[in-house]
């Protein structure tokens, strides 16, 4: 059996894949946080709760309405996005003139409410959600077995991340968006409906979190607390990468996922804390983050 540093290559590649999978989730969630922060100047603490909502809606769709995985992949993000728009219109829009911290506090309260409601309804234990038939099984790559679902998660999230990057950096809509981020008043003076764009941005960010949730549903058990533990790691990812650049968020997310996966192989005790340790080191060397600009 081939070994690298005393670790069988199958185990190493397996953890590497798992790392890429969790890295895909970090990338999608930190991308959503960065897009929302750019436009609304709000750190969305409810992001983890929205992600959990996406997963739960997929599960509920199957349980109560017999909606399959593929329908859920389309409908659940739409529902979460609409929910996000309602939140933006009814609450967040009153906070834009205040200190940014109020947005963080409000979304923290919302996260508690959403999580509490789901915990009350379904308990803290996980609900199983099976992998769709088309994606069960594994590819035999010769040197390792690659479960199809993991490959799909990585491909799907990369595609979504790429589309987001393309829309924001390369299209006219994205140009409006960037202009509104840079100088909302001037952009509005040019006749662009900035409040509408802010609303859609939050809706899009929420939908992205919901999409990540549906992707995660078959990979891990659907539970009301799945979002809150993840979101704190994503915060650390955001601090490491800085929220200045979209590609930066994606790369940092994927990279940290891989590092976490490798830590599981070589020093499992530290796998829960390694991202935070890296954050501490980055803060010491480059306080603005790897891709961030000092403001």
């Amino acid at each position: 059996m081939t070994e690298i540093f005393g670790v069988p290559i199958q185990a190493l590649m397996g953890q590497l894949m798992l790392g890429l999978v969790s890295g895909s989730f970090y990338a999608m969630l930190s991308l959503g946080l960065a897009v929302i922060f750019g436009m609304l100047n709000i750190i969305n603490f409810a992001h983890g709760a929205l992600y959990m909502m996406g997963a739960f809606l997929a599960w509920m769709g199957l349980e109560y309405f017999a909606l399959g995985y593929w329908q859920a992949l389309l409908l659940a993000p739409l529902a979460v996005g609409l929910f996000g728009i309602v939140i933006e219109r009814s609450m967040l829009q009153w906070l834009y003139k205040l200190d940014h911290l109020y947005g963080l506090l409000l979304t923290f309260g919302l996260a508690l409410v959403i999580e509490g409601l789901f915990t009350n309804g379904y308990g803290v234990s996980g609900q199983p959600y099976s992998i769709p038939e088309e994606l069960s099984g594994a590819f035999n790559l010769g040197f390792m077995f690659l479960p199809k679902y993991r490959a799909w998660v990585i491909v799907a999230s990369l595609a979504v991340c790429f589309c987001t990057w393309f829309v924001i950096e390369k299209t006219r809509l994205g140009a409006y968006l960037r202009a509104a981020t840079e100088n909302p008043k001037l952009t509005q003076a040019f006749g662009i409906n900035v409040p509408l764009m802010v609303m859609l941005t939050y809706g899009f960010g929420a939908a992205l979190a919901g999409f990540a949730g549906v992707l995660a549903a078959p990979a891990i058990q659907v539970s009301p607390l799945m979002g809150s533990n993840l979101i704190i790691v994503v915060f650390a990812v955001v601090v490491i990468g800085g929220m200045g650049s979209i590609l930066g968020s994606i790369l940092t997310g994927l990279g940290l996922g891989v590092i976490e996966g490798l830590t599981k192989v070589f020093y499992p005790e530290a796998s829960a804390t390694v991202v935070f340790v890296i954050m501490a080191i980055v803060l010491m060397i480059r306080p603005a983050g790897l891709f961030g600009k000092e403001r």
């Binding site: 508690l112 509490g116 601090v239 829960a272 935070f276 803060l283």
Partner: protein, 313 residues
Amino acid sequence: MSRKALAYAALLAFGLAAPLFIYPVLVMKILCFALFACAFNLLLGYTGLLSFGHAAFFGTAAYVAGHALKEWGLPTELGLLAGTAAAGLLGWAVGSLAIRRTGIYFAMVTLALAQMVYFIFLQASFTGGEDGLQGVPRGTLLGFVDLSDDLNLYYFVLAIFVFAFWLIYRTIHSPFGQILKAIRENEPRAISLGYDVAKYKLLAFVLSATLAGLAGATKMLVFKFATLTDAHWHLSGEVVLMTILGGMGTVFGPVVGSSVIVTLQNELADKVGSLVTVIMGCIFVICVLAFRRGIVGEVAALYQRVVGKRARG
């Protein structure tokens, strides 16, 4: 005697008499969380730094104090001091990293570092993992006052609270406190006036973490155990809620806020179960949307308006 001194004397008298008509353990719990929130308010209300990881200091002190009392058999006073000192040290480490960023990033950094501390406690052997550290002896005060008696312990806890409250009050009203307020209001100007802002922020952070630790160690003494909930981010959120509900940047706000929240949790826990989190979340949302000055802030504003009207005639 001024009216202010009279008010403080009345409050102290209330504190001394409280265990006669309220269950002392509940009052002790309120005092511990009030101290925790006051320490937090020193940072949020007076320095303008939102730490989302204060439970780490609370929990660390609880664990270290518990371990010192149970395993090393230290006297109660030394055990509390050990816990408090550990929280202060951790505060120095977390603070010197966190003050490298400001605003929203500061909140995220403190939250992430606190989560790291939580994971360490989850894995470390001395904390007892999910079970927590149980059956810590309360010991005796100065070797002869038996603290296993709730009433004796109550007056010890009250003394700790009064001392820490006085310390915070003095800090806020000292030249050091004025500089902290200057940093909160306008950091660039404080820098241009020649203040070493980073140093002041760090000092405020360490002081706040130390006092949060004192609260955690005392709470451990009251309940005789330390668990992972003491270091969980939920608690970090709760102390933020107590402070803004009571009124951040006011001397009494955190005391009022924590009394309301602890009493509420105590009343509701049996009746609504896991919906408590939902209620806390709703209070959070309402506070941020409509009630940003908090209870004490609103009352003070109302008082100002009434007095102002009367003065104008």
